[in-house]
Amino acid sequence: MIMKNTIAERIYDFLKNFPPFDALKKEQLLKIAAQVKVIYVENESFIFKQEEKPNANFYVVKEGAIGLFRSVEKDNILVDKCDEGDIFGLRALIQNDIYALSAKTKEESILYAISVELLHEIIETNERAKKFLIACYSTNIKSPYAKNSKGQLFANEDVLQLNKSNINDIQTVNFHKNPVSCTKNISIKEAAQIMCSKRVGSILIVEKNKPIGIITDKDLRVKIATGKISINDKITKIMSSPVITSQEGISVAEAQIAMLKHKITHLCITKDGTPNSNLIGILSEHDIVVLHGNNPSVLVKELKRATNVNSLRYIKEKANNLLKGYIEQDIPISFILKIISEINDVLAVKAIGFSVDEMPFKPPVKFTWLALGSQGRHEQLLVTDQDNALIFENVSKENYKSTQLYFIKLAKKITKKLHFIGYDYCPAKMMASNPNWCQSISVWKNQFNKWITTPTDEAIMMCTIFFDYSLIYGDKTLVDSLSDNIFKSIGGFEVFLNFLGKNALKNPPPLSFFRQFLVEQDGKHKDQFDLKSRALMPLIDAARLIALSHHIKNVSGTISRYEKLIELEPKNKDLYQSCIDSFKILIRYRTKQGLKNGNSGRFVNLAYLSKSEKLKLKGCFKPINAIQELLNIRYNLSQMM
């Protein structure tokens, strides 16, 4: 027989969609749901005010919107907005501190209040939920990173993702054994000298092998450099004491929590985890940062030293982890694009190098390997298909066949290696191993010329892929000569740009007249939103078209294209800048989706988006409409439709 609790189940149904609750077991979440207080708050009313003592609850927004304000003198600055599923009022509760912000409704709202006792239960029993809560909480106090993501933008799910993807968080931390230490009788100056000579940022004060205090760079800065205390005083005068200790085997997440909780940057590791046992090491915040493995230069070095394709594959996997870490930490997307593309390029260069070595003889003539499409634009974050092409120097007619055969054989080796490393074969066979895309420079020039002067739908489609090329390996003069030729062809046949423009508008704007998302009508992805073709491609296509019309050479990335356009058309600066911003947000979002679901991140199930996510996505669509409008006018497209 079942005791029924309909109301708790209803609340459970809501909470289970949002982190950290989605990480809880059903029984546990039901138990929480049964204890929730449902609060109805009128518009413009305070839930709590800055500097008040914390309530016994934290809050989840069920419906409505809450503004978090910071009062500075008489101004109230909106710091954050919480929407459906968002959590607030947590930091004060965890730290048992006064509220740092005021919370006020921006429309009438229904909140779920969850008590501090339940919070502790969640933290104590569930690692993933704990990690999420701590992340929420730490972003509140540190307000890190870009303003558009502010720790929340599509971010919620990914914090949890971390543990699944085994990036260190549940791994134990390696701490420094034999930390630099001293006795309590020395002077501040002496301690600083030790720190200097050992090149460390902290020193432990030890008595009978037990840590009794710590001095960090910050103490020297705050207490000494300000002149408050003399450097000849005893170190005990400035040391922080007692120290926060932990046991060996502490996980990254736990260490982070301990540091956040105590507002410290160093944790002492002792034998039994208490200050009363022998010191065995020290763990700094810096160690944790390093642990997150964010050292791309190490990866590139490793890559350059790689001697076989197995290590390439291994490095590619590591690069994927790096990407996850970057996305999770809200590293600026242009930086991520740069690093990951660099790694992709070097991987390809290595694969080509290995393949050339395997050939029975050296290439008969110079050649160039081009990356096309997203890799050509240096926008390939998730591992997707490989698109590539090969150009070789002109050869005599009688040698053409054999030369082409040589390069096709080489290209097959290369594409096979790329496939092994993790880049799928292109289903449309747009690869250098396809004889059509492995040609001499003259044949290539003719090919582009043909596409430009007879812009059939198919030709235009090819252009959208082949015009985004970048040199990966080989002779640069071949590419330059191809680029020059392309602009010459376009110059003689300007109407080509209109066709390209028409193509750029083939994907209607992402929102319908009623501001509804346009979703796929049928097929495998029915009712899902196609992020790639509806949101990203229109921005990419527009950038390519306008860049081509300005004869911008050798700039294939969407962001760099818009940046170039801002230089050339300062009057459209705002529009192009907004396109860059949208593009950054969308590509980050797609990458997150892809990482989360282990796919290309192309299709978004709207049912899983919260109201705020939908609003944020919609915000990215405005520039798409605007840029499509610009194309429409500039290329007289309405007449061509």
Partner: protein, 220 residues
């Protein structure tokens, strides 16, 4: 004298219930415990139909207290095939069920002297009072509020009948678990808070205003 004798014949829980009305209850809205409730029944005829389930939830100081809620299913002698499609409660089901007298005892313990709130409360009161009468007990003593009537206290509301569905739509309350007693009680609780807030926007609302003009004209 008669009432004294009667009182002695009554079960303990009923006496306890009556005793709760002796101390003066607070007359501030923010301090009042409201119990929003709903009943599901075998039909609409209080004399012959029976209560299938009661759902109730406490509201205090603008908070709906999920931890302070009540949901009970009652074993049936009488069974009305026709209303199963509305409430979905089968005669034998997998839910834990209690006898009618146990259910009433638990309900009275739960409500105490709180103010009862329901949508078209007249019918629910009648069902419960009839059940109490069958047990030889008196009527409910609680103050009552009908959300249907409360809604009409808003300006410019015509004096007509507003169903729970209509009001939930008007106040944009998602209608989950409609036609389960607990689900409807929860919807009504949200409705109650929203109406109170609307009235407060129009004018100052005193405790006594809640009850004025309440005509217990329910869905009879």
């Amino acid at each position: 004298m008669i009432s004294f004798l009667k009182r002695n014949n009554k079960p303990d829980f009923w006496i306890k219930y009556l005793d709760k009305f002796k101390p003066k209850s607070p007359n501030k809205i923010s301090k009042t415990r409201f119990v929003v409730f709903d009943t599901e029944t075998t039909g609409l005829e209080p004399a012959t139909d029976r209560i299938l389930s009661i759902g109730a939830i406490a509201v205090k100081n603008n908070n709906i207290l999920v931890a302070d809620s009540f949901e009970i299913y009652i074993k049936q002698e009488k069974f009305n095939r026709d209303t199963v499609k509305i409430h979905g409660i089968l005669k034998q089901g997998h839910l834990k069920k209690t006898t009618e007298i146990e259910a009433l005892e638990m309900f009275l313990n739960f409500i105490g002297n709180s103010v009862l709130v329901a949508h078209h409360i007249g019918f629910d009161l009648k069902m419960i009072n009839t059940a109490l009468k069958r047990m030889n007990l008196g009527r409910l003593k609680n103050k009552t509020i009908d959300t249907g009537v409360l809604y009409k206290k808003l300006n410019d509301k015509e004096n007509k009948h507003f169903s729970l569905d209509v009001l939930c739509d008007a106040f944009k309350i998602p209608k989950h678990d409609r036609h389960t007693a607990a689900g409807d009680a929860y919807l009504t609780a949200q409705l109650f808070l929203k109406i109170l807030s609307k009235i407060k926007q129009e004018r100052t609302l005193h405790y006594s205003d809640l009850f004025r003009n309440s005509e217990n004209k329910g869905l009879l």
